[in-house]
Symmetry: C2
Subunit: 458 residues, 2 copies
């Protein structure tokens, strides 16, 4: 052990990240304009096919005789179980739903390296069965523990060694972040950015891109996958704001108050008896068609660790809307944050975007059940839309789960009086909270990744 | 709403706290040397009596016929249930135990106010049935939600309004912190420091003390209660170290790795069938006498919201040892932190002190079961002991739960090679982590409170 101390803060890193974010059209790897083409080429180089199958055709997966829970015979991967949730004081709001339980912590890791003095990030052209276009830009490593401990009995995860061998690289970020609280029970993944100065072997399915190039690609639909977006949201870039509507302590206090005032009580229930849901040979769904359905797919793939497999997936029944509404105070941009309760959150509440919903689930315009600010976002004029793209949620578990992602600055500022559970914070404050787990939900992190990569500037 | 922005950081606060910490012998209230006398006087002014009673004499509490769980007929307060825990991969380490379930978030709040330009803190002489000397210095407010929503049907909680009316005071700290993970299931409380400039009514059971005075009192045995210590640990004082063995990012990465590599799987089990425990009319305990027992007490009190009541309590079977081992690197003090798994933690792992155990539970000196560094701490010579006092754990739930709390700097520095799960961090790094929940456990926060109040200086 050397006794040489490290500065607590790496003061040079913000500048290096800013240089990488400033380089937007080209870098050491493919030019930004060529990435879509490269992805198409990788898609053609492999054999991919995803087919819907009935539950009876799942291989290795079955419904437990006692509970009806859906699991793999190895006891690994994940299970689909039932959840009952109650929010608020007795009687509260109650519901039941299927939910994915996958207690192990996976690694989402992006490897970084300087080329010509500029940080680049090693992005993978990765197939996931749930992505509408199958193949998207992904982190260098996207591995469940089953992956990298070889429960799959497949090939080793490429580059994993940079993330599991402590001290090999220089860690730029490493934080456990929650996954979708409406679909996953207490799931979190390790979001890592690790810099290396070693030689890194080339691979045709991987490309080095700058932060700015990735930011440009975030303007495209379904190009940058969810796992990449959540890691990018944790990039420790510097934001300029030194003042805000709420000081950092006041913001913490608001969040602590929101977490304290909400009760969330959940319990496992047998999948077979989840109230309000029904099962047929092809799906577990609600008769009213809302929210999502549990289905099964068969996958043929050439570039995954295993060549072919079958698995259950969650398929939402409509396209989501994920949006931050912006207002400037004294010229400083602020985002309208919403303290959200989701049944699968480990700790009751996380900060979500201003709007996060599937509009089809709330069809009556102007009704009490219509989420606040949804119509404001949907009716925004083009010049008020600072950012817009369609992105998919995690394609390993969710089938065709697309959301329209927006950052909107309405012409008439949002009024001063906010509904309960909403508050204004700056992009820098959101980024500071995202250095820790359980503060910022995965949807808000997608929008944050547009800010850390410079896809949105103010 | 005013559009005047706040600086994100309150740069003046650290200096104001330092001034309060520097004032150690007297302030606007009682002199430090008089506080023990004042506590004795308040003890005499009220009528307190705590008696052990058999479970059958509990009023309003009963064992549920189906599970044997112990609860109150109102459904409020808390329940004693069974917990089964498995740590690590199959088969892992397994155990069962009784545990307290109290899902509501309480408030532990200290009111602050400047007198003659120096911050003072309003401390309460509060009786808790589990404290060996009954009455100790407590936060201004120590309220379960049942307390302040009046389920007790007792008197209102004094000064609570400063903590539940947003915007009334100026929040200096507000964070949800975990309670004892071995005794409480997923319990956390809101730790608040709120400054007021309003007139505050005097009360004979309350006194204004500076941070330095409280630091001096922390040298006394059983003077400052656990709830006060955990709030004081969250005080945003500035620590001087700008460098450390690990940068803040490396430290986060170490912690994320520790949390990721541990699996903790818990499930509720009926209290009646908890393996390894037995019940008689007076106690639920282990035949081998280890860990703790569940007992009942009757309480007569003059100064509590309710004059008399009965309740179950947890009583540890030995005195604990809680200690940080210190080593200086390049002159900068570092604490040896331990990433601990406790069955009741919400998120698997929190940072505990170097040593946290009841030595009687590990009687064989030098054996494999003896906790690392325990003997190093117990054998420290007086000149190596930077801090030592006996403190009690939360006296509302735990009966005679005392720990010897130490900060020890051994003459021969701890060797470079650390056991898995240990790492060196600075006091400032520990304090930074304690600004957020689920990082620093309650035992480590007791020792941290000695640093934030200047009871230990380096």
């Amino acid at each position: 052990m050397t006794t040489a101390l490290h500065p607590r803060e790496d003061t040079g890193l913000a500048g290096r990240l800013a240089r990488s974010a400033a380089q937007r059209t080209s870098g050491a790897g493919p030019r930004t304009a060529q990435v879509a083409e490269w992805l198409a080429e990788r898609r053609a180089a492999h054999r991919f096919a995803v087919t819907r199958i009935p539950f009876a055709d799942l291989e290795g997966w079955s419904f437990r005789p006692d509970t009806g829970d859906l699991g793999h015979r190895s006891g690994r991967f994940f299970t689909v179980e039932g959840l009952s949730a109650v929010v608020g004081e007795d009687p509260g709001v109650r519901w039941e739903q299927p939910i994915i339980r996958q207690p192990e912590v996976g690694i989402l890791g992006i490897l970084a390296k300087e080329f010509d003095g500029v940080l680049h990030f090693l992005m993978q052209a990765k197939m996931e069965p749930g992505n509408p276009n199958l193949l998207q830009l992904s982190p260098t490593v996207q591995a469940t523990r089953s992956n990298y401990t070889k429960v799959h009995k497949g090939a080793a995860v490429k580059y994993i060694d940079h993330f599991v061998r402590p001290g090999r690289g220089r860690v730029l970020a490493d934080v456990l972040q929650s996954e979708h609280g409406s679909w996953f029970l207490h799931k979190s993944n390790r979001n890592m950015l690790v810099e290396t100065d070693e030689d890194v072997a080339d691979d045709p399915d991987f490309a080095w891109l700058t932060l700015g190039q990735i930011g440009e690609l975030l303007h495209g639909d379904n190009l940058v996958n969810m796992d990449a977006r959540t890691v990018l949201a944790c990039t420790p870039v510097a934001f300029p704001e030194r003042s805000a509507q709420l000081s950092d302590t006041m913001l913490h206090s608001w969040f602590t108050g929101e977490r304290s005032r909400h009760d969330l009580r959940t319990a496992a229930v047998p999948l077979r008896s989840v109230a309000g849901w029904e099962q047929d040979p092809w799906a577990i769904r609600r008769p009213d068609g809302r929210f999502f359905q549990v289905v099964s797919v068969g996958v043929e793939a050439g570039s995954r660790e295993v060549g072919s497999w079958t698995q259950p997936m969650f398929e939402p029944t409509g396209r989501g809307v994920i949006a931050f509404v912006v207002r400037r105070f004294d010229g400083v941009p602020h985002l309208l944050a919403h303290a959200r309760v989701e049944g699968g959150f480990l700790d009751t509440v996380e900060i979500g975007p201003t709007v996060q919903c599937v509009p089809d689930n709330h069809p009556v315009l102007g009704s009490a059940g219509r989420p606040p600010f949804l119509d404001l976002v949907l009716e925004a004029k083009p010049e008020q839309v600072l950012y817009e793209a369609v992105h998919s949620e995690e394609g390993g578990r969710f089938l065709n789960a697309e959301s329209r992602c927006l950052i909107v600055q309405p012409e008439a500022p949002v009024e001063d009086e906010l509904p309960p559970g909403y508050c204004w914070l700056t992009p820098g404050q959101l980024a500071s909270l995202a250095r820790h787990g359980h503060y910022v939900n995965v949807q808000a992190r997608t929008l944050l990744s547009c800010m850390t990569t410079g896809a949105v500037t103010w």
